[in-house]
Symmetry: C2
Subunit: 336 residues, 2 copies
């Protein structure tokens, strides 16, 4: 393992993105996301993702200098056309309009279209909770997951994320795939030659399987049986056709085997507690604290607790990544 | 079993509610809900619920003649104070305002406060999909469910429902508890002296149990492990403190052992595809049909499919209820 200060990690990310030709706004936006992932101990959404950023660019699947277009769609809807660039800059472009609309209307939606997406959703959720808003976000991915009772992939891993602002504390945030497990975990088992637990997926004949390779060629399953499957369908619908963007099946077809990040849309909904509650907001938000205390008081964890602990450690000690990953990342830097 | 035409079932419900002193608007609103449940083969949300309506009234836990107050809270928020009455009339009172706000703003929220709630959420979701809107609804209940990793009840069964309008077809709707199973199912096992599957609940010591009585005295579990638990927490927050209403723990405390329906709030979010999509709405809604076809084409079912099949049967044949339930219901009618 090699240790980097957060500043060193930032410079590494910037050097990679800049030298490969990403415009400065994309360099800054993508760097902030992968740095947040690394800092919070989410290695799978950390610096590692820069490998995919560069390979997506080389495959012609992402626009390095796309300038997002912000469209004031309706009193409580803002749309951002990412024009084939990574999602982060599009989110940043839409954020001030979303905040203004949510504070004015009480509830508002941000639809990001035509973006290449690899970000963890909690990064975006946290931008909204930092502004005192409640937030919900979801996005399709590539069609790898079968519906409950089915045998063929239809859904993506279709994450759902939610955030609740807390005064003087880290926000309550969860962010999970509606698939039983991340696709990357199944790939790790395949490489290691290890069986996977029953319930993660089915083979190409639709039979339950513990063979990672067979499941990667078959279909993953959702978490929570028919309930998780219903949620996965909801994500397809509201972050796909509702916002005029691709379903996971359409996104996978567009990918045409390049193994790039999904190209599609994302839906973010923001709700302003002060518009719902008026002068009583502080009192009612305090009752949410009672709920959190009743969860933690019995020894259960709040979602994101591990992330915040990692964040605290990273602030003092920086981050650690495998030497091989560091070497692979350094090799991405194009000499000027 | 005894067979009733839908008209006979309606008259039975009306006679019970009217003779027990419910105001005519509540008689009509509650009858419509329990009749829809019975018609769609959801016996647990059908005529059976009238037993609870009357017992809640006798326990002083519901106002028989409450007139809901509609409050125009913000450009995209309407609140309805149910004033201690059943939720159905409050929903009806808020519905036209919610529809108007969603069509104007693109997305809008209806917060129902201080209602006594026993309705299946799909009934309300369907009112929104019938109007061409996408809808999401949730409500806490009574604190019976432990958080993942915990041992004590904090959450209610906290249902989440979603609906998507379909042109010329029944809407895509799901409506499920975030608990692993309905509390009523555990009670049925207790009465029958049958063990329950592992995963439904834990005993008072926090240990996994197959003993229905022990779980009823301990805590139920959520579906889907920590993911379902996170969703249950989200429901508590957005249909509790966010709308200035009770959490499941507060609702159970208010109930004070009377075993009445929960008294609290409900949040409904409506999104207008035509505001998101403009002229392209029909084309994109057609792409959702492709998604549904890819699910049904592999032999998987859409949620609600069984309900719609029951609805078709009931239209021709009426409904069947156990003779004992029919006798219990007839006995509720107070002679004039």
């Amino acid at each position: 393992m090699i240790r980097l200060t957060l500043e060193q990690a930032r410079e590494l990310a910037q050097d990679i993105l800049r030298s490969n030709g990403f415009s400065e706004p994309h360099v800054q936006a993508v760097t902030a996301t992968v740095l947040a992932g690394e800092r919070d101990g989410c290695a799978s959404h950390g610096l590692y993702r820069l490998l995919g950023c560069v390979s997506s660019l080389k495959a012609g699947k992402v626009a390095a200098d796309a300038e997002p277009e912000v469209i004031d769609q309706a009193p409580s809807i803002v749309r951002v056309d990412a024009r084939g660039g990574f999602s982060q800059l599009a989110f940043q472009a839409g954020l001030p309009v979303l905040l203004a609309k949510a504070r004015d209307s009480g509830i508002a939606a941000l639809a990001i279209n035509r973006c290449v997406h690899f970000s963890a959703l909690w990064v975006e959720i946290e931008a909204l909770t930092d502004a005192g808003l409640v937030a919900l976000a979801c996005t399709p991915s590539h069609a790898w997951v079968a519906p409950a009772g089915g045998t063929q992939p239809v859904f993506g891993t279709n994450p759902i994320a939610f955030g609740w602002p807390r005064s003087g504390r880290h926000p309550f945030i969860f962010d999970f795939a509606t698939s039983a497990i991340a696709r990357g975990d199944i790939e790790l088992h395949r490489r290691a030659g290890q069986p996977i637990p029953l319930g993660w997926g089915i083979d190409a004949q639709g039979q339950p399987s513990t063979d990672a390779a067979a499941v990667l060629n078959g279909a993953m399953l959702t978490f929570g049986g028919h309930k998780g499957s219903a949620l996965a369908a909801m994500v397809e619908l509201i972050a796909g056709p509702l916002i005029g963007d691709l379903t996971s099946a359409e996104s996978l077809a567009f990918d045409a085997g390049s193994r790039s990040s999904p190209y599609h849309g994302e839906l973010i909904i923001a709700l302003d507690p002060r518009r719902f509650l008026g002068e009583d907001a502080d009192r009612h938000l305090g009752r949410a604290e009672t709920l959190f205390a009743s969860i933690q008081g019995q020894g259960a964890r709040l979602p994101s607790q591990r992330r915040y602990e990692a964040r605290g450690r990273s602030a003092g000690q920086g981050v650690q990544i495998p030497q091989a990953l560091y070497d692979d990342l350094r090799a991405l830097i194009v000499a000027g």
